[in-house]
Symmetry: C3
Subunit: 319 residues, 3 copies
């Protein structure tokens, strides 16, 4: 089967998942993003690359934060942006996902940014558009179930490259609720494709996926061992709903074992960077002294995230 | 009484209802819409006709789908669009409808797109604007109670003309919950004004309005008889809330009697088109084989709907 | 301590409160607003002063009405506007206020318009931006707790100046729930700074702040005495939640004693103007005959409000 994300010329036409993207495409996205970080520094933060295009933020699962990053990125490219919080409307009227997509496509959409609670929903949409002769409409996955969150993975790679330059000499530790995290999945895919030699997962057994053995990563249940000599520490958000469940004893207990404190961070390399996709639970997965400390690059991640989304959107529109 | 929708020169100043509009005005809207379907095909889908104008989407009843069509249309005309979901705010603070309108008018609104659960609310607003010396602000009815949904009626006419050219030789069948449907009311008005010689209503007695005898239409309770030799089949949405009521036995039963299947559609003319205002209840009022089949023009309806709304907005702004 | 609202050159960098602003700055805002009232009269109501700037409407407390005025003002200045209803998202995910602000700042925000239920929240944000090297991001207080609503105070001053020219000869009466009103606080600050010689407060003892003696105003419990020879009557909204509490007997009783009727208004000067910040409770704090009568300038207040907000935004962006 052909990769549905690329056209015959190998150009990106949808961004559904990092998995399956060639290394060159990943690097091209990062390279394209670089000048967009400068646009944001200008007096007039606007370029006309998507002028007259209609971008639909199609959020079947609410997320003000992620929706905002895409809205900003699209507006800085001069697109018309339409926000659709679909849970609240058509879906409750019993319309199917694909009828909603057909309907919006018929309004001459140019791009769908899709967040959905079900893994694979953006794939289904991209496939459906192809099958119905509307392959010129581009789909960006903004998070689907536990599957993928590719723009988050890409902005993380941009951040790592910005601070560490060479992926092929790094030790990267991912810490936290890997089992439920689409962010972790996209990170592992990207790190692997970009040639990071040592990827570590630090988590309690209950928060690791069953197929962890196949991922080509090293697993640590002891955070102190896992952080040793790491160049990059990628913290994950512990979602509130996990905290009450049977998977974890208590937020306090979790913090004691898997929370990132200055003392634990001291085990990593002295120039290690600390990342977090946000929003943070301070005092649960991360200590404020680390979150606000000199090794944290959590806010630059956000800034790079806008540039990476502008890059993806402009590449899709140009394909 | 003068028609509040037209000024002294016979130009459209508000779109409140199809009822009462001269045939020439209807045709002018359809003619004006035609070039706008081409705008949507361009690389840059934007024209500056409403640049610097403030269009308020004033939705007292939520409807993401309809709001989106107006938002897209206004943005493609370069207007500034403000979405107001009024149920959630001022109205709950006890402000009257007309105080809300006065307030927004004082912000130098140029156009109100109004959806309201009460029939006549857009009329009341237009009257109030006139009576208070602000007749330069235009009102578009985006659906009021069971009364009217004129842009839906207009886009349906655009669709029929696109496929059938001449209104004066057609047999058109409207099928479903006519009693509760503002869409049906606007369709019947438009078909009558445009000279369609045979308008049929196909519905169970419980879903027909009491005044059906005065509408100049033929009534059928047997769908097979009503579809015979029809050129156009206009399905209506069966709203979920009707399905539980005493008006209908069950969705399954309804589908059996009034759902459009390929077998029933075969009784219409071989080149008959099938329309639906959306969102569809597949398996209730329409079979998926019909909805996705070659006779359905349901998605072109949506596309034409954007062009028709652009036409109405630009005519109002130019009046 | 330096005034956080002004830079070293005495230019406005944040608008947090009227309190503490020099008279010249207030007058400069009013002077700057004047030409913006003309922009709104033009065919194309748009000027490029904020083109390419990102304005975030950061509403931790919902208010469609106030949010709309800022959205309109920013769009007429050509800014990109992002609406964030934060109560519904990040805050419920346990993120702190300052993490939300950091996150949005990292998206290269240029301006935050902040409404918050807690007094002082916009100050906290402005301070935090300064302390973290992002003083180039401007904050506008759109209402914080019971503290301040400075743009409302400013538009009220614009309105008074428009109709009365000279502040230094006026008697101004503020009527209603002064205790809970951030609007009243901003009005009193502005009137004092602009040199109004007689400021009166008309309210029942239960709706007056404890520190009323320090405000330099005259207090009246008898509305008839308080209105005598007033040039300006500023009504306050009686919030619904007060009506059920122990503070007031009943809305009917309140109207009898403190509602503005034509008969009571006759005690003020014959050319007195009547103001109200909206939304009005007709028949509670104000009689419809007054609200819709010749002395009311309630709708001009709204119009001037857009111009004043455009003035503030353009002054901040230029500082």
């Amino acid at each position: 089967m052909l990769n549905p994300q690329l056209n015959r010329n190998g150009e990106l036409v949808h961004l559904l998942s990092i998995d399956g993207l060639p290394r060159e495409v990943l690097l091209k996205i990062l390279d394209t993003a670089a000048p967009f970080t400068e646009v944001a520094e200008r007096e007039v933060k606007k370029i006309p690359l998507l002028r007259g295009k209609s971008v639909f933020n199609l959020f079947f699962e609410p997320s003000t934060r992620t929706r905002t990053t895409f809205e900003i990125a699209a507006k800085r490219l001069s697109a018309d942006v339409i926000n659709l919080n679909v849970g609240a409307s058509s879906q409750s009227k019993g319309e199917t996902l694909l009828d909603t997509v057909d309907n919006l496509s018929a309004m001459q959409a140019d791009m769908f940014v899709v967040r959905h609670a079900s893994s694979g929903a953006p794939y289904l949409i991209a496939q459906h558009l192809s099958a119905t002769g509307r392959a010129h409409i581009h789909v960006i996955n903004a998070g689907d179930g536990r599957h993928a969150h590719p723009t988050q993975g890409l902005l993380d790679m941009y951040t790592i490259r910005h601070y560490k330059r060479d992926f092929t000499r790094l030790t990267v530790a991912i810490v936290g609720d890997i089992l439920h995290s689409r962010v972790a999945r996209s990170q592992i895919d990207a790190l692997t494709i970009l040639g990071v030699p040592e990827i570590r997962m630090i988590a309690p057994p209950t928060l690791l996926p069953a197929e962890v053995g196949k991922l080509g990563v090293r697993v640590f249940h002891d955070m102190r061992l896992g952080l040793r000599d790491a160049d990059v520490v990628m913290m994950l958000r512990l979602q509130n709903e996990r905290m009450q469940g049977a998977l974890l004893p208590s937020p306090q207990e979790y913090f004691k074992t898997y929370g990132l404190t200055p003392e634990k961070l001291a085990l990593a390399r002295p120039d290690a960077i600390v990342m977090h996709p946000g929003p943070m639970n301070r005092g649960v997965e991360i200590d404020s002294a680390v979150a606000d400390g000199p090794r944290a690059v959590i806010l630059p991640q956000v800034t790079f995230g806008i540039a990476v989304r502008m890059a993806v959107m402009s590449m899709l529109a140009g394909a």
